[in-house]
Symmetry: C2
Subunit: 257 residues, 2 copies
């Protein structure tokens, strides 16, 4: 955290270097320490082009296409006529797991995840901690009930199924962790296209001192990244690649995660 | 997390209700699902006043005055002439704890914190997990080395000393957790003035199902909140109560924490 200063001081030398010299006015598009299209910019063509190239480069450098978000305000018992047999069975299983309030809290989630993990002998993991599960619940909790309803849980479950496949695919020797090109490939296979700086930061935060990321951290990282991409997209209503938030919104978004 | 939708749908009914009817044009200041002053707004006086009242209400509702941030780019061996004996001793202790690279990583931090906690019998706690310590390091890591240098560590340490005093003060019976008015009082005593919605969210995320927050979660929460307030302030260069970030900046700020 606290890259605020680093960002302001233009620490993204990677992007700067990539663009440096390419366009005469490219530097001017850097503005406030990041790329991004600027509205109402100056008349200088180079500056405008620089701004657009910055935006394209930035947009190209950091991408993710999430699954459609969980629909909100659907009562658990809403059964869609076209619902597949698989989803119907999942809904029944959820009803058993969730208990009387039909919502899954962090403690329930931890039990569910660890029960399932214990059956996957090829996934070497110590299991998920309550702390991780609290974070996951907050990240997935669109309607801020403090627990996951069926749709929220289904969204999470579909992602975790996909990501555990990716993890196994990139860890064929079952070492229990991903490192270097394995990790890079796995993040990409999971749909996340990151620039070099962001990738290094993720390794610093979620991998161990040897740069190896275990399954728990892989899932924690991806759940968070998925949620943060979606939050940004939801707030970027004019799709200009920038969002504006107040202190209250900022704290709500960053603390409840 | 994922309050982005809730924010957009104007879920902050508390603020809306407080202002509703107070001003004819107050509603217009709501804009994009949050308060905050709008530049270049419409000519309607009510709307402008509404916007200003929103801003004042919002600013008043969410406040924190952090300690001065750790100075950057100071080499560990920089010794200030006016440094007190206490700080000098702390520097020497840090040198012993930090090892040859003079930086404290998550594993070191975990050992340090748990060693010290074991001496505080009046603080009932299971100790800090590696996961929590990784988050703390990221939040405090201003220069993105992946570890804490002396100044970063000192800043964190001064806060934790202050906050453990607050925790003990509000848990006189040594139950090991804070709840209800104890928790509310403790957050305020630690310097955090939060509106009702934010407070409820924090309880949902960091307290257990009975609304009780233990020491580890109290510290995790405050470290994060301190960092997020500071990040916002650093980015809000025109001090208008709003910040604008690109996807890259957003991910850097939210993932490295």
């Amino acid at each position: 955290m606290f890259l605020a200063k680093a960002i302001l001081e233009g620490a993204d030398r990677g992007l700067g270097e990539a663009l440096g010299g390419l366009l005469g006015g490219g530097g001017r598009g850097g503005g406030r320490g990041g790329g991004g299209q600027r509205r109402g910019g100056g008349g200088h063509i180079g500056g405008i082009i620089g701004g657009i190239v910055n935006f394209i480069s930035e947009a190209a450098a950091v991408q993710y296409t999430p699954e459609p978000p969980p629909p909100q305000h659907l009562h658990f018992t809403t059964v869609e006529a076209s619902e597949s047999e698989e989803v119907r069975r999942f809904r029944q299983q959820f009803a058993q797991l969730a208990g009387p309030d039909m919502e899954v809290g962090a403690t329930d989630l931890m039990k569910i995840l660890n029960k399932i993990l214990s059956k996957h002998k090829d996934l070497k993991t110590e299991g998920f901690s309550l702390e991780t599960c609290r974070s996951i619940v907050s990240l997935m909790d669109s309607d801020t009930t403090g627990k996951l309803g069926f749709e929220e849980f289904k969204y999470f479950w579909n992602n975790i199924k996909k990501w555990q496949c990716v993890f196994k695919q990139y860890d064929p020797s079952h070492t229990g962790s991903l490192k270097g090109s394995q990790l890079h490939g796995a993040l990409k296979a999971a749909g996340f296209q990151l620039n070099e700086q962001l990738y290094r930061m993720i390794v610093r935060r979620y991998a161990d001192e040897d740069g190896a990321m275990d399954f728990n951290n892989f899932i924690s990282c991806l759940v968070r990244m998925d949620a943060m991409f979606r939050a940004f997209r939801a707030l970027d209503r004019d799709a200009d690649g920038r969002i504006k938030v107040s202190i209250r919104e900022w704290l709500q978004l960053t603390m409840y995660s």
